[in-house]
């Protein structure tokens, strides 16, 4: 199956936040009502019952003056997801077409995935002691529908479909923007983390939208993933062997220690 990706053209986003409501509706997530704290962006970040939010950033462009930058934030659905690598219970999997799925029945709520993800996407749901995240509406996509957020987007900022076609469209948008007053325009999610199934068209550099410029998996996670996990299978007999060795050695040592005792009446 060909890869399917979501393109988010932030330059067409009007921050109507229809995507946020459509997401709640499809996933039947309850409202998380937090008080207004001085920004239209009501939540500081996504949470376990809010898989996507539109982030609002005010930025002063030296040439154009004040800009209000909107960016829909959600799981990037990386090709090599750090969450999957970090998970000790294999709760994560990739669909053939690219979605990163998480099985809450396998989840033990350890949240390693949350810390492993460069965007901290998986969020902990205390009530049920599991983490949750965007599924790229895999259950809709596999039934031939578009993700709920894409379906509802009125401005055309969200597109979903064949990777080849959409990448061509996204590249065209970037060159259009570069030629029309946005020299910093760029794609995000193509090279990041080895490629993602969510690709942004940005008018400015990623940091202006609160995105990490070079998203990386933290060293601890790499250690776990590259060193510890591949040898996990060896560790058990190794540990068993070690206990067997220690069983005898402790006794040998004890015996040798006892021996002088026994003959300690010199």
């Amino acid at each position: 199956m060909a890869k399917l990706i979501k393109v988010i053209d932030v330059t067409k986003c009007t921050a109507c936040r229809g995507c946020q409501v459509a997401c709640k509706n499809w996933n039947q997530n309850p409202a998380v009502i937090e008080p207004f704290t001085g920004s239209y962006q009501t939540h500081k970040d996504t949470n376990a019952e809010t898989y996507t939010i539109v982030k609002f950033n005010e930025y002063v462009d030296p040439a154009k003056g004040v800009r209000w930058l909107f960016r829909k934030h959600q799981c990037m659905h990386c090709d090599n997801p750090a969450c999957m690598e970090a998970c000790p219970r294999q709760a994560y999997s990739k669909t053939e077409w690219g979605a990163t799925l998480h099985d809450i029945n396998r989840c033990i709520g350890c949240q390693y995935c949350h810390y492993a993800c460069p965007w901290s996407v998986p969020k902990y749901l205390k009530r049920e002691d599991v983490v949750t995240k965007c599924t790229l509406c895999a259950n809709r996509v596999e039934a031939g529908l578009k993700p709920a957020c894409v379906q509802t987007c009125p401005s055309g900022a969200l597109q979903f479909g064949d990777q080849g076609e959409l990448m061509a469209y996204a590249q065209e948008r970037v060159s259009f923007l570069r030629n029309n007053g946005f020299p910093e325009a760029t794609l995000y999610g193509v090279n990041e983390m080895g490629g993602c199934n969510v690709v942004y068209v940005l008018a400015y550099s990623p940091d202006k939208y609160g995105l990490p410029v070079n998203p990386k998996v933290s060293g601890q996670v790499s250690f776990w993933q590259n060193i510890v996990q591949p040898y996990a299978g060896w560790l058990i007999p190794l540990a068993l062997g070690a206990s067997v060795v220690s069983f005898f050695t402790t006794r040998l040592i004890a015996a040798s220690e006892r021996a002088p005792e026994e003959g300690g009446n010199e």
Binding site: E34, F36, V66
Partner: protein
């Protein structure tokens, strides 16, 4: 818009936005309040390279996606647009062929017409009103206006227009509006480029334009720009009112207004010239006042022969009589003036608008109030006073989905205020005698019927779910109300009860719930008995002899009969094919739009006077003249007819011509053309919009010595705030997450989550001045009251430099109240009881306040 174009409607439709070359969004936050319109504007930019311009006091989500953002101080639109008119004329950017042929630019004006220092000729200081006799054309012996197509006669409209706006030079304008000069110039250059014959530009406005003491004149100024640039009546052009609710257009078509009866005909008054049907018709039919006719039959003959200065409204008698027949059926006969005397007559001296009604209620003049879908405790201007007025009622009926603030205006929490203020009424439930009834209503998805959207599309909506609990569709409620009232009057023989006892009422079907299709039949009009279900073809077939009945003449044509004899209600049409050959997105078989399914009105202007496309604009020409079309004029038998994708908004059998004999492009106007100069009583404040400051303003009017609109009615002179105590300009608005008073959306958790509390937007500069941090609780005060909200300190708001002085403006939504999941103080506790001189729409958008930390 009616004084400029002939109809008070959006000229184009929502999808047509994709055809524009440039959109001037002014007084509208289209991305937040009309996201679907924004979708088509973004399409215009992507596919045509259209430029989007946003002019607004605040940098909003619309500004965020616009190409150019220009700030202007609230209430200075006329200065802004007046400068644009001057710029267009000075730089010869107007569309000359269009202006000469399709507007009244060439018409000569009465020598008595004059303008001096903010006042037009005929002002009466004691009445605060004009005698508009001189605001008229010079006429020939037949009464026809005299013209000068060279536009050089100093008394022609074009020259008077040029003279009027001479004072609106760029520097003066920017001194008033606070717009940076470079931004203003950028807007002028970009939008006025659409004066080229091959370009069209549209103006999009909403409540930011209308909710001012000069609201109607603001709209007039936009219409004038579009006439000068040749943008009206063409795809991608027009003056497009974004309606704030899904059925505002429908509500006004049905005359949910005090001054009209259905179909935009003035409502009868208790004056001698409205004393009987013929007097009323002579008064309300343009050009008929001085006809030597004294009976309906004589008027009918005169109409048949035609008379000058009448336009299409020459048919008024047919619309009025058909409406009376629809209302009183067999009881409406030629002998009894078709029951004209049953119509209530309003007092000429009284005003029945929202504010006037609440003032009367406050003074104890009204016993009961029926609130259907409204929430004045949150949405009404000067809401503290309006809430107190409700306590003077004997009874109040509220029809809504939720127990909103108006339904619970009597509760303890309804009178809680953030600060003690002796000027603000405070009551307790025990002090309030009003008996409140609540009727739970079905939501839009739980009932059937039509709504008419901003682009005049009348769309049928089917039921998606059953109503919850005991809630009922409002059609059911009104039906029951009428049936039960009629029952109470049953058997009465008193003549004064006849308007009720003789009232026809369907029958709208057999079931308990009335059938919307049968209501549609009455709107459309029918021949013979209602029960025969014979729809009249359209309003051109209506008669004034009692043979036809029609509820709303503008809707006539919305129904036909299918081959099998059943009714075909056109709002149910769902053909998703664009019938335009050049991809203009007309979708003429998706729903139906009034009048006669014309998707773009005044569409004669989409082609040149000679019938050919405007040079370089072939794709947007809606029609062409087909001289050999055999389906010609049935009256003359001559071949030849206009053919095209839309329905002609002009005589489709008249061959293209210049001058007499040509089809008129603006057929609802008596003069047949678009009006740069509004004549006679069309506008209360004068033929040309003139800048006046908002009722509460920190500045003197720099353009004339009239500080405010000279024709406004001042209800509470003692409540006029001044800049020494209230130096900050306040304005209200909506956000995409909530709707109107929030009665619906604040009760939906997913929307409450997105915008949970009342907030006050202010600039970083003002916040610093007042020691306010982002997220702090703040108090905003005016002479009407105080509210609390959370500070939203932003770079997007900037102080204005007006006439060299710095002034701050703050903004807030008017969505909040004390009920629901999302709560906050209603912003309208701050707004004044003052309104536009023509429409009485309140000045919600510019008033004076102060802000401090709570």
């Amino acid at each position: 818009m009616s004084p400029s174009f002939g109809r008070g409607v959006m000229t184009n439709h929502i999808i047509d936005m994709k055809n524009t070359d440039c959109a001037l969004i002014i007084g509208s936050n289209v991305a937040e309040n009309h996201p679907i319109t924004m979708k088509w504007l973004l399409k215009a930019r992507e596919e045509r390279g259209a430029k989007l311009i946003h002019v607004d006091p605040r940098f909003t989500r619309t500004s965020a996606v616009a190409d150019i953002y220009a700030p202007l101080r609230s209430g200075t639109d006329i200065a802004f647009i007046g400068g644009m008119i001057k710029y267009i004329i000075d730089n010869n950017l107007y569309h000359k062929d269009y202006v000469v042929n399709y507007t009244n630019a060439a018409f000569l004006i009465n020598d008595g017409f004059d303008f001096k220092d903010g006042l037009f000729s005929g002002y009466d200081e004691s009445k605060k009103a004009y005698d508009p006799t001189t605001w008229d054309y010079q006429r020939d012996a037949e009464g026809k206006p005299i013209k000068d197509p060279t536009l050089t006669n100093p008394r022609c409209v074009f020259q008077l227009l040029k003279k009027h706006y001479e004072r609106y030079d760029i520097d003066t304008v920017c001194r008033i509006t606070g717009t940076p000069k470079d931004k203003y110039l950028e807007v002028l250059e970009t939008f006025c480029a659409t004066g080229a014959p091959d370009k069209t530009g549209c103006i999009i406005y909403a409540m930011g334009t209308t909710q001012h003491t000069v609201g109607s004149q603001n709209v007039r100024s936009y219409a004038m720009v579009q006439l000068l640039l040749g943008n009206a009546g063409r795809p991608g052009g027009g003056v497009n009112a974004m309606r704030g609710e899904n059925n505002v257009q429908g509500a006004t078509d049905m005359a949910l207004l005090f001054h009209i009866i259905p179909g935009y005909i003035n409502s009868p008054m208790n004056t001698p010239d409205h004393k009987d049907l013929i007097s009323f018709l002579k008064k309300e039919t343009p050009g008929a006042a001085n006809l030597p006719v004294s009976t309906l039959a004589e008027l009918r003959e005169a109409v048949k022969a035609g008379f000058p200065n009448s336009g299409f409204k020459i048919n008024t008698s047919k619309w009025v009589v058909s409406m009376l027949k629809a209302w009183w059926g067999d009881a409406a006969t030629p002998e009894n003036d078709f029951a004209y005397h049953y119509l209530p007559k309003r007092d000429e001296k009284k005003n029945y608008s929202h504010m006037a009604m609440f003032e009367a209620m406050y003074n104890g003049e009204i016993d009961g109030l029926f609130v259907n879908g409204g929430n004045p405790v949150v949405g009404g201007p000067n809401a503290n006073k309006e809430q107190a007025a409700l306590a003077k009622l004997k009874w109040l009926v509220v029809l809504d989905l939720w127990l909103h603030e108006t339904a619970e205006f009597w509760s303890y929490k309804a009178w809680e205020r953030p600060v003690e203020n002796p000027d603000v009424p405070k009551m307790e439930p025990k002090d309030i005698p009003t008996e409140v009834f609540f009727l739970p209503a079905a939501a839009v998805y739980e009932k059937e019927g039509t709504a008419s959207n901003t682009g005049r599309w009348m769309q049928y909506r089917w039921k998606g779910a059953e109503p919850v609990g005991d809630s009922k569709p409002d059609l059911w409620i009104i039906d029951q109300l009428c049936k039960r009232i009629k029952k109470l009057y049953e058997g009465s023989t008193k003549p004064e009860d006849e308007p009720i006892t003789k009232l026809t009422w369907g029958p709208y079907g057999e079931g308990e719930e009335p059938e919307p299709v049968l209501v549609g039949l009455e709107l459309n009009g029918y021949i013979g008995k209602f029960e025969d279900h014979k729809p009249v073809e359209n309003f051109t077939k209506l008669a004034d002899d009692g043979s036809t009945a029609c509820g709303v003449w503008v809707y006539s044509g919305c129904m036909t009969t299918k081959p099998d004899g059943t009714l075909d209600y056109k709002p149910m049409w769902r053909d998703n094919q664009d019938n335009s050959k050049t991809g203009l997105g007309l979708y003429s078989k998706w729903a139906w739009c009034w009048p006669l399914n014309r998707r773009i009105v005044y569409n004669r202007c989409s082609v040149q006077p000679d019938g050919t496309p405007w040079p370089g604009d072939e794709a947007r020409a809606l029609f062409k003249w087909d001289p050999n079309n055999p389906d010609g004029d049935p009256k003359t038998g001559n071949p030849g007819k206009w053919v095209g994708d839309d329905v002609p908004d002009f005589n489709k059998y008249l061959a293209p011509a210049v001058g007499p004999g040509a089809a008129v492009p603006f057929l609802m106007r008596p003069e047949g053309v678009g009006c740069l100069f509004a004549t006679k009583k069309d506008m209360k404040e004068g033929p040309f919009p003139e800048h006046y400051e908002p009722w509460e303003s920190p500045f003197k009017n720099l353009l004339n010595s009239q500080q405010n609109n000279p024709c406004i009615k001042v209800w509470e002179p003692d409540k006029q705030g001044t800049a020494d105590k209230y130096p900050i300009i306040g304005t209200t608005y909506r956000v995409v997450e909530h709707w109107q008073t929030g009665a619906l959306t604040r009760n939906l958790p997913w929307l409450a989550e997105l915008m949970p509390n009342m907030f006050i937007e202010m600039s970083e500069e003002l916040a610093k001045l007042k020691g306010i941090n982002n997220g702090d609780k703040v108090i905003v005060s005016t002479t009407r009251g105080d509210i609390e909200g959370i500070a939203c300190v932003t770079k997007r708001l900037k102080p204005f430099t007006v006439d060299g002085k710095e002034v701050h403006q703050i903004g807030m939504t008017w969505h909040y109240g004390f009920n629901g999941y999302a709560k906050g103080d209603p912003a309208n506790r701050l707004t004044p009881h003052i309104g536009d001189a023509n429409t009485m729409i309140p000045e919600y958008k510019a008033w004076l306040c102060d802000v401090r930390r709570a």
